[in-house]
Symmetry: C2
Subunit: 302 residues, 2 copies
Amino acid sequence: MTNGVEWVAVDWGTSNLRAWGIDADGNAVFSRASPQGMGKLTPDQYPAVLTELLADAVDHPVDALICGMAGARQGWLEAPYLDAPSELTHLAAGAVAPAMPGSTIRPRILPGICLRDVGAEDVMRGEETQLLGLAALRPGFDGLVVMPGTHSKWALLEGSRLTRFSSAMTGEIYEVLKTHSVLRHSLQGELEGPDRDTGFEAGLDLGLDRPDRLTGLLFKVRAGALLSGRTAPWCAGFLSGLLIGAEIGGHRDWIGSTEIPLVGSVAISKLYQRAFRRIGISSRIVDATDATLAGLKAARQG
Amino acid sequence: MTNGVEWVAVDWGTSNLRAWGIDADGNAVFSRASPQGMGKLTPDQYPAVLTELLADAVDHPVDALICGMAGARQGWLEAPYLDAPSELTHLAAGAVAPAMPGSTIRPRILPGICLRDVGAEDVMRGEETQLLGLAALRPGFDGLVVMPGTHSKWALLEGSRLTRFSSAMTGEIYEVLKTHSVLRHSLQGELEGPDRDTGFEAGLDLGLDRPDRLTGLLFKVRAGALLSGRTAPWCAGFLSGLLIGAEIGGHRDWIGSTEIPLVGSVAISKLYQRAFRRIGISSRIVDATDATLAGLKAARQG
């Protein structure tokens, strides 16, 4: 196993765990993934999970630099938030080192970032590393970055400095309404199909136009199914478009003149790209894994 | 049991069933309640439930005039929606009569009202009867009526004519986020307490001011708990205030110069009254049961 691995990059999220062995040139020489995310673990289980994940890959002493929810209060060991505005190249200075007795792995967990202003509090944990990665991949970039997801983030970068950010619960609202609200009756069965696009466009236009009317417009999913025979794919597209449209419509004052990097899953990022195109804003999809890996590398060097 | 009951007024909702025996003077001489709402019943179960509810109260032939979800497609027998604009005194003309073989009860179910305009579809079922009741209780009233609830309704009345309405999923969004989203971590345990009022005011101000930013502001519940030590009652109040504020803030163009009747549960209506007062609008709480009963009486006469 003298595989040239100098250190291990780890992204430990709520649902999943991923690790990459990095060689002296900064290349990933192996990768591992596991469903053992923070949401499924108690603090004492982390050492064994990480040991097992890396068992066939490294047997010599290595640093493991970890970002994400493993550093949350309910994770492995809390890595207290740094305050924004924040110079992201200094992230590693805020890392914490949980104990791994008897192991050759030396873990460090990067902190998240917070805004403490009372009434405007916000937090991120994991995205700060992707933002640092984006700053490394796009030297000199200044402007808005949008990170679509369960809790989307809108972030303003000045090079590697994070000046301000805001979260939106768009992805999670979609999931809970789809699963638990009266709208579930209109979203049963197969949700893919050609109608989904049409529904998405209809919802998007309404959301972009009237983000302030969101609680009312959501009911159009149900009423459209009852009265206009809207199919489940149409309703799913409408709900998705309405929520994404309302998120973007409510953040128009954040949008500047630079092309917006979209950091998130490609499928969801494509929906945001369509939404931004609708209002004449150009955006570019950045692979989220590339951003995470670049961020962990930059944090290790920083 | 010769108790002077001329007919039975029935409010058959999703969660509950209520019935009142009405005498020749229009007074309720008995009332019954049951948790056997539409959500728990298959169509064939309705006759037995109604028979049992009234078993010790009436033994002579009586009409039972029913409003609410019993007339939904998934209820007892579908009472197709009437189209708005709609003269509410004609509601009974759209009633359907389900069969109750062998019974002395002669049920009729009132229709709901819908807006069919594609892209602006909306439905109500039950509230139309309360609106007719309000028109009977407040002869000559013209203007906006707000009906707080799981799916709040904003309705424009011209006497007994319903010209336009709009739904908002405020109550249901509160419930699903409280129960199923990441916000549940901040809303555990006792949710009442003095902090609840403070949280409500804080959320209300934000929602009224920035209804367009709702998907983002919702995350402040979580961030406020993590960073500023907000208690569960504060978070519950904030979430409630934010959603009610956003509902009202997004419907400002509906608000005219008349005092707004609030038809709904007294506890929830009081929150809406506080919210309207915050923006200088006067409102008056109308007992929802009074409105339902007055509406069923007016529909029977109409």
